[in-house]
Symmetry: D2
Subunit: 312 residues, 4 copies
């Protein structure tokens, strides 16, 4: 259904209804605990922000509480790497859904160290390496970039989270060493991991993230600052990747139920967009078996079902 034909939505009422409906689900998820620091979070938290292209913003719940963005950060680094390397990026990382859990080494071996897509951990580590070989002080640069996108200069790394990530990041170290054995990592493994863990340990709230994703709903241009971050074609392509690969091994189910390009993180956040219309961020720390926020996915499913808005 096209925007112009749709009756005027009461967005605030809508998201409050959704928050009520999913409330019972919050306790059914499981907080990520593979990194101890991730476990220190209130299972009962829930926040949501809808950010329209026209600048209007609607929120409810714990939308101003910071949480760990985790894999949502992969969208920021991919945007940066894509704008720097352009299509050369795809010689080092693929564009296909993985069909396997997000930290799998199996496909990486079958494909000689080239990760299937930039949103599995291996792919995001390669993307991090691509940025490091093309910028100086990459971590400070990417934090600045996230602050600019979110229009919030206080966005920062959660240092406790970062230390926790580093102490328990043997799986990611394995991925990085493995890809280096195939010459698909150029920098030193420890340096790449510092950057990778750093930008995943950023703390943001629903407002920040919804704001930061807005340019992807507007052909690569931030509609408020008018700044262009990607060409229209590049923005379309990142949206396609988000749809097919953005929610780990549940991307098919997410497309089926929700029908929006989106990216989840094990901190419980999910950011998604409708091209030409809006961005949205929902947060609830209880995860389903795929590592996506249980109440968050349901909230987005309700959002597209109740509004009739989806890309399909």
């Amino acid at each position: 259904m096209l925007n112009s034909e749709r009756p005027r939505l009461d967005w605030q009422l809508l998201i409050e209804d959704i928050a009520n409906e999913v409330s019972a689900l919050k306790s059914k998820g499981k907080v990520a605990d593979y990194i101890p620091e991730l476990g220190n979070v209130d299972l009962d938290a829930f926040g949501i922000t809808v950010q329209l292209l026209n600048g209007q913003r609607y929120s409810t719940g714990d939308y101003q509480t910071n949480f760990s963005v985790q894999s949502i950060s992969k969208v920021f680094s991919l945007t940066k790497a894509f704008s720097i390397l352009k299509d050369e990026l795809w010689s080092r990382v693929g564009k296909e859904p993985s069909g396997n859990p997000f930290n799998s080494l199996v496909q990486l071996e079958h494909e000689n160290g080239k990760p299937r897509n930039p949103f599995i951990n291996a792919g995001a580590i390669v993307v991090a390496d691509c940025i490091m070989t093309n910028t100086t002080d990459s971590l400070a640069m990417i934090i600045d970039f996230i602050r600019e996108l979110s229009d919030n200069k206080t966005v920062s790394i959660d240092q406790d989270m970062l230390q926790s990530e580093k102490s328990f990041g043997h799986r990611n170290a394995a991925l990085a060493h493995f890809m280096k054995s195939y010459n698909n990592i150029g920098s030193e493994v420890d340096a790449v991991l510092d950057f990778y863990f750093g930008h995943c340990s950023v703390a943001m709230n629903c407002e920040d993230i919804a704001r930061a994703f807005l340019f992807l709903a507007n052909h690569g241009i931030d509609p408020i600052s008018k700044k262009r971050y990607l060409t229209a074609s590049q923005a379309k392509r990142i949206n396609a990747l988000l749809l097919t690969c953005g929610t780990y091994d549940a991307a098919g189910d997410f497309a089926f139920r929700v029908g929006m390009p989106g990216k989840s993180g094990v901190g419980g956040g999910i950011a998604a967009i409708i091209p030409g219309l809006l961005s949205i961020c929902v947060w609830s720390p209880g995860l389903d078996k795929y590592g996506n926020s249980l109440a968050g996915v349901k909230a987005l499913e309700l959002f597209t079902t109740k509004t009739g808005i989806s890309i399909f």
Copy 2:
């Protein structure tokens, strides 16, 4: 970009330009030959039809030449099975991209005989079995259904193709027996394969197929006959499956480059849709390494690039 904001397109000129641009690619693909009968086709053929929701239709090239629909038929049987079984269907077949070549047995084994999605061969065989246990004379029924969708009563099975399929279908027989060992096939294997091979051996042209896909671009209702085939939610869900799983192991790349829900067949056809706007069918028998029409994919990429229309 919304339809209403777009300058009026000269659709006929557009598809003729595209046909010219991809002409050199036709000979670079490879005609499918795993079934001998599929090899008997002119590598130089190319046809395209754009079918708008308002009934207007634009075509060029060999758009009235019949070709073997092959896997495109899986969309017709899935539509039928989904409308009969509703969400019970998903207890027998999954919704996730496979991440493996289209005839792989590997994932089927890892997941105890439940195919990853309805568009890999194993999934389509389960869908066929679902129809058989709920209808009588299933093959005649599905042919009638395809005739109705395409508004062409002459659509028929190519009997030579069917015999060729049956003689060389050991891989599909292996899939069916394997799933039956997990109790995910209820009918006799030979009967299911007869139905499966039958509905894949239908011959249609670009006009027929574009016409038959139109209901998927219109929330499940044929906009010309006004007949409803699926609920809006079901139509959205099939479109999501088409996007994530419709083009074998290249679904990610297809979404990335083309950005339309679509289904390809090894006969060289590809059908795709833009919700709220149009359906399209392109045909060129030379395939790329993933089994998708080489010139066909390029034609669709040009179509979305030149018009700026995509779901992203």
Copy 3:
């Protein structure tokens, strides 16, 4: 330790001691039930026969009760195929342990339809096909061969078992069709399966099987009838295959604990040999998680531990 240096063993006392020691294990195994007919067996049964090269034979327990030989028969068909095709056989079937459960399709796909070894089901089906293309009335021939090896003209197919196998053999049908799709099966799938199921449905007792394996302990020559079935080199090679691949996915553990070339069947039998010395057959229907007789493996482990006899 060499035979000549060993103090004279009281074989009868030895096997009776072993039978007592493993008695408590009989009820801890699980009778195979993937084919209903296999389930109709007394979990408490146990028999053992030791057959020396010099013709002496020692037995205890249910050693004259017939049971279904199942995969033990693969040794008889492999012997026949190897003597007919000689080293050409290895162009169609490999010689490596599979590292996967016995009915896996995964490796078969990775290796283009060539099974890893002749003792996994896929490999035995190829071996059956090799025999069929080189003999007439193959099933009658192989039954005669087994009767001759076991010096028992009453050895026959259990027809109820055979019917049960055929009705529930979809996994094996899948394997056969799959290999035929790679052109590694020459005969019709149904005919190969009839032969394969037929020779696996033979009923024998411990005496029969120990007797039938004796030639493998004597460089390919039956030491009693003096008839040669294999060259010394071929017999050595079958023994090597038995050691590395004879007990499904537990071949390493069997070599480690028992240290004899041996072959198990899901009917609960295990046949094994010590080159230059003896053959042995033990039967107890309760299986471990790998499909090997639980009490049977323990009995053989006790046999090599108590006597100090093993190939290592």
Copy 4:
């Protein structure tokens, strides 16, 4: 055939004949080059030593030239770890053939970080970690152990090789980090790798290695020094592991052709034993596609074929 029945062999003539016969094969192999230092070796080299239990020793060719033992060292560390931890060792490493190339991560993931056997790299790294948590100054200890076994106090680490290993060991670092993520590595990854690379970088010649393996041919006791290193049962079990897992993904073929428990290294050495009779070491740097010495395997095959000696 038992030793006592065999006509007296002229061992020296035998190995000289074998050296002549395999001479043409030397140039058909490929020197390992995944670590640059390994490439600095003469492709034409060939040496062989046969060491009898009675102390007699026969050698020919470059049997006193040092080469990099590489994976042969895994037998020394396994012996040490098995004697320290006894059967508790097998809770951390399996006993089954891998059915995959020697550095595969795939099975490691399927089995939650427990390597399939102690001779694949992952398994040997776990064995190294087991030693480190039970000894101080593990590297000096294992070097002393190798010196004692080989009765050669000059055996040492090749420092250039060690540096080369460390610089190019990303695959092994990946394995170690991966297993640490499953808590199957207790020490720091860098420390374990230093030990692992150290003991694989030892340089020895054919005489040293044949001498060092002699205890495995004599039930765990060095027949010359009379020192016991393993119980008879433990020695039998290591021999079983060598047969089923000692030559990478070609263990089945090695058992089939050669029929001796043996261990190869990518330096081109192979050590093997006949229980109750002898140990043997052959060296030729050209490798086959599985990473085993091409001329070396052939030499051992000729050895067992010409003498009629094998464990089968």
